[in-house]
């Protein structure tokens, strides 16, 4: 157990040193504060908009950025150590492969969790401090759910990055595959589902269709956040999903499944990886 925390501590320190923590905090803070304050600029006014609009807008943008950051943070987790020779060295220490992988997950997961909380939390602080029509109490629930789901989404993509990292022999290849995976999850998947809907002119099993969204963690993340703001006018797949009775717990459970499955797969591939 101590080895896991040693690896996690080193990964977190590495994240601080190579400016990942700072960069993610700044990106998320700028994004969150910008959306919270300038969210209604298109309507010709500036100032804090309603909390639901802010969160849903934030979720729509975060769903693109969080997976990308998580993949870039962790794509070289295994293959990078292998290329630099430290993986071979680490495996001669009293440290098993699962301890190394879990330690990395904890460390890089902490980088993601800390940056997400500080980055997005800063907009909550701003709204709480400067918005006249939102109280601290109003903020607590929605922001907690948003930040929790954002952290989970980050962890899911860190786990996916480890699957990629354990499967390839070159860092550059891992980076390329990570970008493809990001592209599939945030763009291609939803377009594919919409394409099915349009092609079949809606003649698909209406009960089953929303459940297909659970096959994509970014869609679960969006569902988590819209489940809080059902009055929002949603479009596309989210509008379909809004009709179903997904509750917050089952959606968060879905994200946990999405976390553990890739971690298990990464472990399996890593165990079979030659040194």
């Amino acid at each position: 157990m101590k080895s896991i925390f040693t690896v996690a501590k080193k990964e977190f320190r590495d994240g601080l040193r190579n400016r990942w923590v700072l960069s993610i905090c700044v990106i998320f803070a700028v994004l969150a504060v910008g959306i919270a304050y300038f969210g209604a600029a298109a309507a010709g006014k500036v100032g804090f908009t309603s909390l639901s609009t802010t969160i849903v807008s934030l979720a729509s943008l975060a769903v693109f950025i969080i997976p990308l950051i998580a993949l870039m943070l962790a794509y070289d987790g295994i293959v990078g150590e292998d290329e630099s020779g430290t993986l071979l060295l680490l495996m001669t220490y009293p440290l098993t492969r699962w301890q190394l992988l879990l330690g990395k997950m904890l460390g890089q997961g902490a980088v993601m969790a800390f940056s997400t909380t500080v980055g997005f939390g800063s907009s909550a602080l701003m709204i709480g401090a400067f918005s006249s029509n939102t109280s601290w109490q109003d903020l607590l629930g929605p922001y907690s759910v948003f930040i929790l789901s954002a952290v989970l989404l980050g962890w899911v993509f860190i786990a996916i990055a480890y699957v990629i990292s354990a499967s390839v022999s070159e860092k550059s290849k891992a980076a390329g595959i990570a970008l493809i995976v990001w592209f599939i999850f945030v763009l291609v998947f939803d377009l594919g589902l919409l394409g099915v809907l349009v092609t079949t002119q809606g003649d698909v099993n209406a009960t089953l269709f929303p459940y297909l969204l659970l096959l994509n963690p970014t869609d679960i993340f969006r569902l988590v956040n819209i489940s809080y703001f059902a009055e929002q006018n949603l479009s596309g797949l989210m509008a379909i999903a809004q009709q179903t009775d997904f509750n917050l717990q089952s959606l968060l459970l879905g994200m946990l499944v999405w976390l553990f499955l890739p971690m298990g797969l990464a472990m399996h591939i890593f165990n079979r990886r030659g040194l």
């Binding site: 101590k2 080895s3 040693t6 690896v7 080193k10 320190r13 590495d14 040193r17 190579n18 630099s84 020779g85 430290t86 071979l88 060295l89 680490l90 495996m91 001669t92 220490y93 009293p94 440290l95 098993t96 030659g274 040194l275």
Partner: protein, 320 residues
């Protein structure tokens, strides 16, 4: 008791037979040299001893355990390993890197500063590793390998990138560890100077054991001549001396073994067994100013065994 024991160990990778029936034993406090061309199987042997890969056949025991078994995890804290060209973590300082490895090994961090001093990195200990030269990284790697005073040290090309003084200091550290009972397996391409620090050597070629034993035993196996280097005498003078009736019979006919050197000295190759007779007889030359005796070096022995092996398998070029 043997610290490491390999019995008829084989390793096959898909289409490559990396190691053929290798026997090896390493005793406590022994320094063992492992030499061979690129792809000879040296790193495979090290990985097998470390338990990083499984043997395709034969038996391996390290501290009495099979190193690939889960139960052998605890023996890893008794091991030290350094591989060639390890990069470490660029964003961490040398001290932080060493403390990380110390913590993984369950060793007190206070040892790290002493080890960094031992390898001459005290002044650079708070600098990030990305600013280190290749030699400094190698020294950091050495400090890492020496963490916790290992009982078994496996070093793969440990002196690559080290300057001559650092190389000498490294071998002095090895000598010190040896006195403390540490066993060392040393793989190196840099052969000059290594022989005085190793107790026994194993020369590998294409995964096969070509020769094994102490330097003395290897010299006997190779049967290479010793070289007598004479200063102050000419080639003709030596030739005349060798054809005299007073010359020992075993030195007769050695005229063809005389070579002139660029520094004006003359060398004569003599069979190892005859070298003392040669020294005694040639010492009588009145013009002689100095006489050096060069026994076959590890490099000569290595070259001999590799060349022999390659000629046996019908490959003319020598990959040293």
């Amino acid at each position: 008791m043997s610290i490491v024991e390999l019995k008829q160990v084989e390793k096959k990778y898909q289409n490559v037979h990396a190691l053929h029936a290798l026997d090896l034993s390493l005793n406590s406090g022994e320094v063992f040299g492992l030499f061979g061309h690129n792809g000879a199987g040296k790193t495979t042997v090290i990985k097998l001893i470390l338990g990083l890969i499984e043997a395709s056949g034969g038996q391996i025991s390290v501290f009495g355990e099979n190193p690939t078994h889960a139960s052998a995890q605890q023996i890893r804290s008794k091991l030290g390993f350094l591989q060639e060209n390890v990069s470490f973590y660029d964003h961490l300082t040398g001290l932080e890197v060493l403390e990380y490895f110390a913590e993984l090994k369950g060793i007190a961090k206070k040892q790290c500063a002493d080890l960094l001093a031992q390898v001459g990195l005290t002044l650079a200990s708070k600098r990030r590793v990305r600013t280190y030269s290749k030699g400094m990284r190698q020294r950091l790697g050495l400090a890492q390998a020496l963490l916790g005073k290992p009982k078994l040290l496996l070093l793969d090309e440990p002196t690559v990138g080290l300057d001559p003084i650092a190389t000498r200091e490294f071998y002095q550290s090895i000598d010190q560890l040896k006195k403390e009972g540490c066993s060392v397996v040393l793989c190196s391409h840099v052969l000059p100077g290594v022989e005085k620090y190793i107790d026994r050597a194993l020369i590998l070629g294409k995964g096969q054991q070509l020769a094994a034993g102490s330097i003395k035993e290897l010299r006997e196996q190779a049967d290479l001549p010793a070289t007598l280097q004479l200063h102050g005498v000419s080639t003709e003078c030596i030739k005349e001396q060798l054809v005299k009736s007073t010359a020992p019979p075993q030195l007769a006919g050695l005229q063809k073994n005389i070579h002139s050197n660029s520094d004006g000295s003359v060398s004569l190759d003599v069979a190892m067994a005859d070298r003392m007779d040669g020294i005694r007889y040639l010492s009588q030359l009145t013009q002689l100013q100095n006489l050096d005796v060069h026994l076959p070096s590890l490099e000569d022995l290595y070259g001999h065994f590799i060349a022999n092996h390659l000629s046996h398998i019908g490959k003319p070029e020598v990959a040293l």
